[in-house]
């Protein structure tokens, strides 16, 4: 394999999309690495009553991009038959069993239900058991003929990484495959190390959504099979159609939107050729990220740290909207960051390819980015002054509560906000400085009559879509 270094040869990477592959690198005869989303892994979580154990198991599943098809907890909530039937219907390929002290009997009931539900399957689920030795032996005895693998309890970072590695192994199709979520994490780590800034990489594709936050050697990550393409119908079924519809700056009724989402879900790599379909894709991207953030929160991941990341890097479909401002607005709406951030996006698939290389060797990831905007999120009690200095000089704007403001810049930028001592700086930006005083959590009026003008103002502020024009 060609080994990539910052100064040496560059490996060639094939990045798989829904129905196509893009090659990044100098070779034309083949690729050294392939980046794919991997085989979907259907995972059942069987846990004791301790909510922390359950959250830790969820975090491990999110880290491994496993599809949680069923979660069962010990306790008298459901009958043995209901649980066994649910497990039969869920057809898990793996079951993550997490016990806690005093609840082993309850977990054994769940394992018995798994055995009853999955008996006779040609490919029975792998049983990954996090328990002390004695409990694990009891579980293994009850699980026969299912094979039991011992795994560490998912409540420490190292243990979670071990579980994630095991589950990812089930998703990997071959030795030269780097899973997309692995590449994203690797890119986040490399960027954080190279820039010495906490970095959140946000990746949305047709069939996956990833969040990877790296800061000083720590990594928080969550991945799911929500997306703007094949995963679009999941976004709607999990979050509700109205959550997607609310971001579209034109009136569209729910049935019409659902039709479009379903058709997109079954049309790999479809291109949004009209402003309306582009707006649908942007809405799906926002909700994919927002839903993943909610799932990460349920898994006790530190969402606040992600929202305070110094750099936010958009990749995948989120980075490929025709206007850079569209990527910025979608990221702002979905993540609702706090403080001041630099938002950048990858050049098509380049950061991902560099991340894939960095997962095996070393790679220069910083050259794959295009800085877009310096974003300051405020919630001032009264209107405040924001001053921006770039190569054309200084300019000052008054920012009122609830507003969204773009200050185009040229060359390197310094940003000073009244009443805040810190000075933020950024290299040359594609868009400029964005001041977001819309407040957190970001709320949209429920009624179309108020929502559409609000969205129209936001889109007009960043010049994202021709809101005054037609949707078609």
């Amino acid at each position: 394999m060609t080994v990539a270094t910052a100064t040496g040869l560059v490996a060639t990477v094939d990045v798989a999309h829904e129905a196509s592959v893009r090659r990044i690198g100098p070779r034309t005869d083949g690729a050294d690495l392939r980046v794919t989303t991997g085989v979907p892994l259907r995972l059942a979580i069987l846990a004791g009553r301790d909510p922390d154990s359950l959250a830790a198991a969820r975090a491990a599943a999110l880290g491994a991009c496993a599809d949680i098809v069923l979660t069962l907890t010990a306790g008298p909530h459901a009958s043995f038959i209901d649980r066994a039937s649910a497990l039969r219907d869920a057809r898990p390929q793996a079951a993550l069993v997490v016990t806690d002290a005093g609840d082993v009997a309850g977990v054994i009931d769940l394992v018995e239900a798994l055995r009853a539900g999955c008996i006779g399957q040609p490919d029975p689920p792998a049983l990954l058991v996090a328990a002390d030795d004695r409990s694990r032996q009891r579980i293994a005895y009850c699980a026969v003929p299912l094979a039991v693998e011992a795994i560490p309890g998912p409540d420490t970072v190292q243990a979670r990484e071990a579980i994630v590695a095991r589950l990812r192994g089930m998703r990997r199709e071959g030795g030269d495959v780097v899973l997309r979520d692995e590449a994203i994490e690797s890119a986040a780590r490399s960027l954080a190390a190279a820039t010495s800034r906490s970095t959140l990489v946000v990746d949305v594709t047709g069939a996956s959504t990833s969040l990877a936050f790296a800061n000083a050697g720590t990594l928080l990550s969550a991945h799911s099979h929500l997306g703007v393409g094949a995963g679009a119908d999941r976004v709607v079924s999990q979050g509700g159609l109205d959550r997607v519809r609310r971001w579209i700056p034109w009136p569209i009724d729910a049935p019409a939107l659902l039709e479009r989402v379903f058709n997109r879900a079954r049309w790999p790599d479809a291109i949004p050729s009209s402003p309306l379909t582009l707006a649908i894709e942007m809405s799906l991207a926002r909700e994919s990220i927002a839903q993943l953030l909610r799932e990460a929160e349920r898994a006790d991941l530190d969402i606040a740290a992600m929202r305070r990341a110094a750099s936010i890097v958009c990749t995948g479909a989120l980075a490929r909207f025709p206007r850079a401002a569209q990527s910025v607005l979608a990221a702002l709406d979905a993540i609702a960051p706090e403080g001041t951030q630099l938002i950048a996006r990858e050049r098509p698939d380049e950061l991902l390819a560099a991340g894939a290389i960095a997962s095996r060797s070393s790679a220069d990831v910083t050259t794959t980015l295009e800085p877009l905007a310096l974003v300051a999120s405020l919630w001032p009690k009264r209107s405040t002054s924001v001053s921006v200095t770039d190569e054309r000089g200084s300019s000052v704007e008054r920012v009122a509560r609830g507003s969204l403001l773009l200050m185009p810049t040229s060359g390197a930028v310094e940003l000073k906000i009244d009443a805040e001592p810190a000075l933020a700086s950024a290299p040359a930006l594609a868009i400029g400085v964005v001041v977001d005083a819309r407040g957190r959590p970001l709320e949209l009026p429920p009624r179309d009559a108020e929502r559409l003008p609000t969205l129209g103002r936001w889109h007009a502020a960043l010049a994202t879509v021709p809101v005054g024009g037609s949707a078609s």
Binding site: A84, Q121, A207, N263
Partner: protein, 341 residues
């Protein structure tokens, strides 16, 4: 490739509680029962090995009924000893649903019975408590998504042409146990009326997604989903909303009218049991285009050619295909049989 005559394979997952199933090698016809069983109510846990003073591994030796057996209340389930006998009897009518590793029994009352029917004329090639597989020859057509239970019946055309919508007024009980071909669109009203009239299933170019939610609930997905309940069987051939059927798809459906057919919803396939030489099909798959607003799938019947890069109203620049309706992104044009994710 659209229509194809060949060997197909269908897998039928079984719910828990199977009591009989066809063995490997058994010839079956579409519609034959290949597995049957019972649905359970809340089970009762019956002390087994411990109550008999045995280790769990020895329970099997003293069981008087087999696992899965249906028993009446009071029936002896297991018994040890002769002069000083110990016995475990059934506290309720039911079936032994599960024998636990510790030697206890889960005895569950029977609340309903279910059966699974073949959707191919062929031979059972795999049979286990969790699934059966049948393989056989038939004319087959791959759709995009199937919903509801599998169905078997004679094909009947219920529309005037490939673009027409299936009208509820054209459905009545005379179409009972038939599979209706519903043209370019079948709405929720037509589907539910067909189900109420005993129609086995509905095939259409497209079904409105909101209509699917009305029929199958809000969890319905674009990827289909088979179910065992008393709900309609629907096969979407092209997409959602409306989708005129290409003539290469519709004409054979007309030719097959009256033939025995089956919908296998898990694989979203229609099988027609007719001789291999019953129709002549083109070797080329018709092309389909996702229209600009993604609301409709349209066949490209006329000539179409790549027309270089075009900047679309969304400001995205991409390779385009020139059609009678103007340029369409090349990515939004697919062959009928192309993988749809």
């Amino acid at each position: 490739m659209s229509w194809r005559y060949g060997d197909w394979s269908t897998t039928h997952p079984l719910p828990i509680g199977a009591s009989e199933r066809a063995p490997v090698g058994k010839p079956v016809r579409a519609g034959d029962v290949i597995a049957a069983g019972t649905s359970y109510g809340s089970p009762v846990r019956v002390g087994g090995a411990r109550r008999l003073g045995l280790v769990a591994d020895d329970l099997e030796r003293v069981m008087r009924v087999s696992r899965g057996a249906e028993v009446e209340r009071g029936a002896i389930l297991a018994r040890t000893g002769r002069r000083f006998a110990r016995a475990v009897s059934a506290p309720i009518d039911g079936r032994i649903a599960h024998v636990r590793a510790d030697g206890d029994l889960e005895l569950a009352p029977v609340v309903a019975r279910w059966s699974v029917r073949a959707t191919l004329d062929g031979v059972v090639t795999a049979s286990s408590d969790s699934a059966l597989t049948v393989e056989g020859g038939a004319w087959g057509l791959q759709g995009v998504a199937g919903y509801g239970p599998d169905s078997v019946g004679d094909l009947a055309i219920a529309v005037d042409g490939p673009r027409s919508e299936l009208q509820p007024s054209r459905i009545d009980v005379r179409q009972r146990e038939r599979i209706l071909v519903g043209g370019g669109r079948s709405g929720a009203e037509a589907i539910t009326r067909a189900h109420a009239c005993g129609v086995a299933g509905v095939i259409a170019g497209a079904v409105p997604a909101a209509g699917l939610r009305v029929v199958y609930g809000d969890d319905v997905s674009a990827h289909g989903g088979s179910s065992r309940g008393d709900v309609p069987s629907v096969l979407c051939l092209l997409g959602f909303g409306s989708a005129e059927l290409p003539s290469a798809i519709f004409a054979p459906l007309v030719a097959f009218a009256g033939s025995r057919a089956a919908i296998h919803t898990a694989s979203a396939r229609l099988f027609v049991f007719a001789p291999a030489n019953a129709i002549e099909v083109s070797q080329h798959s018709p092309s389909l285009a996702l229209v600009t607003d993604w609301g409709t799938v349209r066949p490209i019947e006329g000539p179409a050619a790549l027309s270089g890069d075009v900047t679309f109203p969304s400001e995205i620049t991409a390779a385009a295909v020139g059609t009678a309706d103007g340029p369409t992104p090349a990515a939004n044009v697919l062959a009928f049989g192309a993988s749809r994710g």
